[in-house]
């Protein structure tokens, strides 16, 4: 732990600077290039010189990596044509150079103001991620922001080899407000923060096996987690696909009708729900050790 500031409170550039080796980050297509969205300009919405994503190369522990961080303050980190093209290019560069690639996510998915262009861009990035995976080049999604990883970016994060989450991060497709609108407040009260986090938050995702690491809300902890994964990969093979199919079927069979997330936690071996709810990421990992097997 560096103890300086909370990861979820940092900006995209602060996050990258705090996660990689000091002074090692070289930004690609930086703001002076002024790559701005023509869609937003036409709609009279402020543009951003980086289109809401910072990309570049850096090192962690002396090891090279490509890294990107989405800018949540700019249209919710949503993916437009330029934003998506920068990301696709970065993963393609990673595949070409056989250098690991990490994406620090803060995005609700497709940028609606750009229509279908952002939707296609997300799927192009997915194809580029799988190019990396075919070459056993590690791809890592980091989910630890306020906005989380939702919509198409939620799906994209599950295409990466690994997901590093903090207890603050959330992973899903439809967000709580959308679900509440659809199912009613009785089924899902989006203002119930405990329920929202137990539905999509890092602890539940870690427990179920969808997050590979659950770390403290701190750049030093995120750095350490990425560093550990840089030499690993999760190959896309028939054997792994079959194992995953069996695991996901088992999960659905066990918990498909379970309304209360506490029951999922208990089912996964968490004994003291109150303590686990208040635990930090690493404390929760210790509590959950038996359940996750």
């Amino acid at each position: 732990m560096t103890g300086t500031s909370l990861f979820h409170e940092q900006t995209a550039r602060q996050r990258i600077a705090a996660v990689v080796d000091a002074g090692s980050f070289v930004e690609l297509l930086p703001p002076p290039e002024r790559l701005t969205s023509p869609y937003l300009a036409q709609l009279g919405i402020p543009v951003s010189f980086d289109d809401g994503i910072v990309i570049g190369k850096a090192k962690i522990g002396g090891k090279k990596l490509y890294i990107a961080a989405q800018v949540g303050q700019f249209v919710g980190g949503a993916v437009g044509e330029i934003h998506g093209a920068k990301l696709t290019g970065l993963f393609k560069a990673a595949a070409r150079d056989r250098v690991p690639c990490a994406l620090v996510i803060e995005s609700g998915g497709v940028r609606l103001h750009e229509g279908s262009a952002g939707e296609i861009a997300i799927t192009e990035t997915m194809r580029a991620i799988f190019e990396c995976r075919a070459k056993k080049v590690p791809t890592i999604a980091v989910i630890g922001s306020d906005i989380g990883a939702y919509g198409g970016i939620g799906i994209l994060s599950t295409c990466c080899d690994f997901r590093v989450m903090t207890e603050h991060g959330r992973l899903g497709i439809s967000g709580p407000i959308v679900i509440e609108k659809w199912m009613g407040k009785k089924a899902y009260d989006s203002s119930n923060r405990a329920l929202v986090w137990k539905t999509s938050g890092g602890k539940t995702k870690y427990l179920l096996g969808d997050a590979d690491a659950l770390v403290h809300d701190d750049a030093g902890a995120v750095r350490e987690a990425i560093g550990k994964l840089l030499a690993k990969s999760s190959p896309v093979t028939l054997k792994n696909a079959k194992a995953r199919q069996a695991a996901l079927a088992k999960r659905l069979k066990r918990f498909g009708k379970t309304e209360n997330p506490d029951d999922v936690w208990k089912g996964m071996g968490v004994r003291d729900i109150a303590a686990a709810s208040l635990a930090s990421g690493p404390e929760f990992v210790a509590l959950a050790k038996t359940g996750r097997k």
């Binding site: 297509l29 044509e81 150079d97 279908s116 799906i155 994060s157 599950t158 679900i179």
Partner: protein, 241 residues
């Protein structure tokens, strides 16, 4: 435009061989023939919602195809409204179930299965992302509803007046909803007339399919998505320095 029944549509695409395709709970799985050659078929119909269970059903069929019918092309039909907003599916990891379906398709691609998508009905947002848009080549019937969302829905969410979006969509096909504008972005290789000979078109599409993602290049050539390819290439060039 009135949509044909799922069975009528399958008959049109696969002729008599469509009898080898099951339609259950609006999910399509099976094997059929195109131009005298075997194909595997997965998909959705009736504009159904899909969730964790549906993703597993489709993924299981992809795995079955890889194991029992090596290198057989996989045809994906898309007519789905996407994920139904649902807390339980989300809690159990809907994104992971969709990601698993995509991984299974990637295994198939790497093992030499060609992947062809036909958007037959609704191909909107997440429904299209979670399998259809992952094909080697993507086609759409002219009667299909393809795109992120209709302008009225986009207006409701972004609070931008529909009239403004409508006007801009004339010069920015990305904002327009439909198969034709989606093709201008490169998101669809070709739009097929519903009344035409889709069997012949499908046979040709399978023969011509290649795993290289050509969509950004198409979008630039057709003028609907002018920036994506150049920006990607700039990242590739500058990262190599």
């Amino acid at each position: 435009m009135k949509q044909p029944s799922p069975r009528a549509l399958l008959g049109k695409l696969f002729g008599g061989s469509a009898k080898g395709i099951a339609v259950e709970k609006s999910l399509i799985t099976g094997y059929a023939q195109v131009g005298g050659k075997a194909v595997c078929v997965i998909g959705t119909c009736n504009g159904t919602y899909i969730g964790n269970e549906a993703a597993l059903v489709l993924a299981a069929h992809v795995i079955d195809c890889i194991e029992r019918h090596p290198r057989t092309p996989i045809v994906m039909l898309v007519d789905s409204a996407g994920q139904e907003p649902n807390r339980l599916d989300e809690m159990l990891g809907l994104a992971s179930y969709f990601g698993h379906l995509l991984s299974c398709l990637e295994v198939a691609r790497r093992k030499g299965h060609k992947l062809i998508t036909i958007a037959t009905g609704k191909a909107i947002g997440g429904a299209f992302i979670c399998y259809g848009m992952f094909a080697d080549r993507i086609y759409a019937l002219d009667s299909a509803s393809v795109g992120l969302m209709p302008i009225a829905a986009m207006s409701a969410v972004t609070k931008i007046p529909a009239a403004v979006l409508q006007k801009l969509s004339k010069t920015m096909p990305s904002l327009e909803f439909g198969a034709e504008p989606f093709a201008l972005l490169g998101g669809v290789e070709e739009v097929w007339p519903s009344k035409g000979d889709t069997q012949a078109r499908l046979a040709k599409a399978i023969a011509a399919a290649s795993a290289d993602d050509n969509r950004a290049a198409l979008g630039k050539k057709r003028g609907g998505r002018k920036l994506a390819l150049d920006i990607r290439n700039r990242v590739l060039a500058e990262s190599a320095k």
